[in-house]
Symmetry: C2
């Protein structure tokens, strides 16, 4: 899958966290995987041992103290987020909530203030891509695949390919809105793809485009003028709050962000500049589910919309995202998810269902998912075999396009 | 007790809310009492019956819908808050949390994200007053009273009276910080009282003054210059965010507010103008404990301090305030409470203890307080006898000073 940073490797790395209580209950969480985050989680261990999982505020305070020197790490030069503290917070918040929900006999969404919707809507997430599948097939093709599993192996490098991908994905999952990951081809080509989607799906299916901040202000303004009335929102056309604010002042398209405003520290600037209309939370990068609920309250207070960003993830995170989506009173848009792009699963029962574009909130206490240990062992073996220790889309891209380099601004 | 709006009546009206579940558990809450709030709570009843008390987000959404036309009610012309929606939210949020805590077997503070302090600090709350006690004694004196109960009957109309009141209150409750309710006498007199407190207690006891927005910008600036290095913060010297911002720009004293920024709708203006350094929450007026936690997150995000405002209240509210104070990570200051000024109580066990200036967080599930029904019946009989249906400090003041009128700005 192509993106502004290069090419997703055929594997997505995830670190799975298990917290076990004295009475044998297990709390789960999943965060973007890397050797660095594994190290950080081990460093957090002394604070976690003996802590009450229902008392997140106290554990958060301890962790913040412990990781304080790292909070100054910057963010924004890649579509993912390498800051460790927020991911450690996220992992432990989710796992603690899973345990607290099990202890209280209620779903995690209830502990976030209560369920306002039982069906949480997600959007179709389209990618430009070469032919081929992921996982052990690397970029090979599985000829036995059918339906969406076959469709997603196909190349999608032009408007027709994108429309075909969208139709297959919508047919399988029933999504009611569509997002295209841009920042891959020149803006004119991506605008053409969006207009093809518009013609294929009509005005009832909201569309979004995310060039991952690769456009200049002038390009963003020209593109926005072209896409007014077509897009539901334009995500991160360019880099920095100042640039986003300049684009926003010059167009009538709502702007969303996951790259220019990505932390609580960024929010005062976002409000001051009014750089965006919609903030995309991601509990992995905002410090957990409690923190994402705080972000939602801030968005409500300051008249900003809220939706959700996604990277590749498995079912533990899909469950966490769904509990969050169920509890956020002001969820203005369908959430992003990469879930249709994976085929493996590490939770009991296998792949979670997306029907009518929605995931039903698990009703079991806690997150409502348990680990499939043989499946986890298989995934771990694949991790060891593949040899990746961190995400690096630039190196993957160079395998396809020798000499390709990431640029912070391309068009 | 004298204040900018006149004189507190010898009774404080409180409405007690009980929510009963099918399995016989009772959730409690307490809000400022009036015939109007009783009516509003009855109007909310159809939404509450059958609702899941653990699912506050859903109930809040229904109530907001129901009371929507009233959300435009203004606030700021009195030191208390007559908006009904936030008080209905507050009452039901607290009572639901009490039930949810009982159901989960955890204190309310745990459901607010977890306990960060077991001892919640309060400040001594001083009032100018004539001689006399409250309650059935009206403004009479109980000659049998001793200790603080005797001291609080004494007149406090000058610096010496205020210092004597402070010493008696601190001796009884161990408060570590002191607030004087001002807006009663000309600023020079109130500044003199603060300076007397400073001399009597020294720099280790933080002091605050609250003129309830009765000062002009120029008076506020002059007073602030006098009190720099003496006050911990100056609360609401004047009215409106613009005026507060003008004062803030012209002085080095932190400004706090409970009158210029009193709702989520006011926050964007407060941040834009930077009108205050510290926002005083009050779960009765900000829509409950969940909402107050959201306010705390906003204060943390935008670099504002947070503390708590108080009106007269009984033990149910003191318990709720203490759970909130226990869970707020960024509680920068001791909380206000009127509690030492009342002698009656409606909860089992009688008066809650304030020791070393702190209330210990109740460890029982829920709020940790239960109704003393005979005591509640006595309080209700007193309510019927006294004939008051709403708080009106102006009428009370006119009994002492014929012709006295409230002024929005006095000095």
């Amino acid at each position: 899958m192509l993106n502004a940073a290069g090419l997703h490797a055929p594997y997505c790395l995830r670190t799975v966290v298990e917290l076990e209580t004295e009475d044998g209950k297990i709390g789960l969480a999943e965060v973007p995987g890397s050797a660095a985050i594994d190290e950080a989680l081990l460093a957090a261990k002394p604070h976690v041992l003996g802590a009450d999982p229902r008392n997140w505020n106290a554990l958060r305070a301890k962790l913040t103290q412990h990781f304080r020197p790292e909070t100054s790490a910057v963010r924004g030069m890649a579509p993912w987020d390498g800051r460790k503290l927020v991911q450690v917070h996220s992992a432990l918040d989710v796992a603690c909530l899973d345990l607290a929900g099990q202890a209280a006999g209620v779903p995690v969404a209830t502990l976030l203030g209560g369920i306002v919707r039982d069906q949480v809507p997600y959007s179709a997430y389209l990618f430009y891509k070469h032919e081929g599948a992921g996982g052990e097939l690397a970029f090979g093709v599985d000829p036995k695949a059918s339906g969406w599993a076959a469709a997603r192996q196909k190349a999608a490098l032009d408007p027709d390919g994108i429309v075909a991908q969208a139709k297959a994905m919508v047919a399988e999952f029933g999504f009611q809105s569509i997002k295209l990951k841009g920042g891959v081809f020149a803006p004119l080509q991506e605008i053409a793809a969006i207009k093809s989607l518009w013609r294929a799906f009509g005005a009832k299916v909201p569309l979004r485009l995310d060039p991952n901040a690769l456009w200049s202000v002038q390009t963003s303004l020209t593109a926005a003028a072209e896409l007014e009335g077509v897009l539901e929102y334009l995500e991160d056309p360019c880099r920095t709050q100042e640039a986003m604010a300049a684009v926003r002042r010059g167009c009538r398209l709502p702007l969303a962000t996951n790259m220019c405003t990505t932390s609580f520290d960024d929010l005062p600037g976002s409000i001051r500049h009014h750089s965006e209309d919609i903030i995309l939370t991601d509990h992995h990068y905002w410090g957990g589910l409690h923190a994402s609920m705080e972000l939602a309250a801030i968005c409500r207070t300051f008249g900003r919309g809220v939706s959700m960003h996604s990277n590749n993830h498995a079912g533990i995170s899909l469950a966490a995202m769904t509990h969050l989506g169920a509890a956020m009173p002001n969820l203005s848009f369908a959430l992003d998810t990469h879930y249709p792009w994976q085929s493996d699963e590490i939770i009991v029962g296998g792949r979670m269902k997306i029907e009518g574009g929605c995931v039903t909130v698990p009703k079991e206490p806690g997150l409502g998912v348990t680990l499939d240990r043989p499946a986890l062992a298989r995934a771990h073996a694949a991790y060891v075999r593949c040899g990746l220790k961190e995400r690096n889309d630039e190196i993957e891209m160079q395998k396809k396009v020798p000499g390709w380099r990431f640029l912070a601004s391309r068009w």
